[in-house]
Symmetry: C2
Subunit: 328 residues, 2 copies
């Protein structure tokens, strides 16, 4: 297995990107190709013990940054680490691509310049995977398509279902449609129109409309929504989680007694964070393009990049792209 890692992806590139690649190469023994500025990558690799690891460097002269416009940069910076990295996957020289870079740019380069869409897929879906108290939940679409048509949502369901099964090992994934109420009459016009199509689809086990509360409790494995609503939901969950953690820290520090209490309860807080941490998974798979692409958070550290590489490994081992192709 060979995985390409964008060395120029994360906010603090190439540190976390190279560090994560080293961790992954050490843990799993895969071949890892680092793409980007060769000097920078060499200098970064020199900080690690890399003997015996299957690490390779492929040069790319340009960098697409977080502030670059996706459409424009994907067209102009054709020797970027994203272009070079995904072209290796396209050419069959690598099995998957991982980047902690500009999400919109990865999407544009994958879709328009390199891997292209799988035949029959109308629109790709960006996923997000969060940890609920009992397992994982896959959100799709998380932002690739701000406006959606009902039939696209059905396709997101088909693709996310395959990923849940083959990439995350969920035996019989439940697929639900995000709505503001479980009753069939609830929802906006997109939900109204998508509901009968989702019910009629044979490609997944559909469990109906679902509200955020039940999604969060893990009552579905896959939740389907347009990219705008899904992004708002995901960001709301994350924002509320961070704010509560911050307020708890602040208020515990506000008195000596609660400070002692907080110290005694710190293991409990750590367990809570493990049970709801939205970052634990590492990255999001881009479904519907002809190759494995995992997009990590810009704020990734070494471990987060390693986790994103693990996601790529699992999707490659599960043959997710072939499974999706066979469904269309």
């Amino acid at each position: 297995m060979r995985i390409v890692v964008d060395a120029m992806g994360s906010d603090q590139y190439p540190g976390p990107d190279v560090g994560g690649a080293v961790l992954a190469a050490r843990e799993w023994g895969d071949e890892i190709t680092l793409v980007g500025n060769e000097d920078l990558i060499q200098a970064e690799l020199a900080k690690h013990v890399t003997s015996g690891l299957k690490l390779e460097i492929v040069g790319a002269s340009e960098v697409i940054g977080m502030l670059d416009k996706p459409g424009e940069s994907s067209q102009k910076k054709t020797d970027s680490s994203m272009h070079v990295g995904m072209s290796l996957v396209r050419a069959g020289q690598a099995d998957g691509f991982v980047s902690a870079g500009n999400t919109g740019a990865v999407l544009a380069v994958a879709l328009l310049q390199t891997l292209k869409r799988i035949r029959g897929v109308k629109r790709p879906a960006l996923t997000a995977v969060f940890r609920n108290p009992t397992g994982y939940t896959i959100m799709a679409d998380f932002g690739a398509n701000a406006d959606c048509r009902p039939e696209w949502l059905v396709q997101f369901g088909v693709m996310a279902n395959q990923y849940a099964k083959l990439g995350l090992g969920i035996a019989e994934p439940r697929v639900a449609l995000l709505s503001n109420g479980e009753e069939e009459g609830k929802g906006n016009s997109l939900v109204h129109d998508a509901l009968p199509l989702m019910q009629a689809e044979k490609g997944f086990h559909f469990v109906g409309n679902m509200e955020p509360k039940e999604v969060l409790l893990g009552e579905t494995d896959v939740i389907i929504h347009d990219g705008f609503t899904g992004n708002i939901m995901g960001k709301s969950l994350e924002a509320m989680g961070s704010m509560m953690s911050r307020l708890i820290r602040e208020e515990i520090k506000a008195s000596p007694i609660s400070l002692v209490g907080g110290a005694l309860a710190s293991s409990a807080f750590q367990r809570v964070r493990k049970r709801v941490d939205p970052f634990e998974v590492g990255g999001a798979i881009l479904l519907g393009v002809d190759g494995i692409v995992i997009i990590g958070h810009g704020r990734s550290n070494d471990v987060a990049v390693k986790n994103a590489i693990r996601q790529a490994r699992q999707a490659i081992q599960g043959n997710v792209v072939e499974a999706i192709k066979s469904g269309f």
Copy 2:
């Protein structure tokens, strides 16, 4: 001031509804009219000390329950407590109406059967008010209109701005548009189309597109969105808050040491709850109908009903309906 309270509103009616009315009459000395089944209301009132309070009962023979369909029940149950109560406001015999009942039904009865829309208002907006760490945030629309047109969002901004000023006492409310990114290129087509209209509107101080995180931190006083997205965001915030509280309780109980820690830190947890409690405010005002209507949570207890009555008082004192009328 006379406020009508729907005695048949809450999940546990008439207990919390009557109890809240008694608390309000005692605290502020207003005249309060309880509408609903007279025998039930009398029996409930007998549990309280009511001498000297200005409480009155008006009979209504029907009840619209939480499971009733809004459209159907608003047309058929024309002697419901909602119909009778809002007709009193319509006739000028009362200044505002408070119900902890079926939100969709209150909306339908207000809009189609009794108070009707203010001239010039294209669609009413349901609000939600949540406590952020530094003050209050008004969300509009919270679910009255699942699908919206760009110009409706502008009207929601005009109405919510008046309510923020006159009903909640925010001197110069900031108004923002909910989006999945602050940049102008972000958003779905509704946000794209609404943005220039919001920027051009003189009726409020517009601060641009805003993501959930910044909304939650209190960087705007009013956040505008379609009713579907707003409802999903609000429910996501609430769900995450409840889940974190629950997990913290569970994990603190999981070991004797953290249990002691949790007890010592309990005042800190209480302060956190005060700073982010989405329920503290009590109810949501329905903006754009020709009268003050406050809708409380079905799960309201006595204090929540009292708080909803306070919201009605403040909106009446602020002359919110007249202010909105003058803006159209």
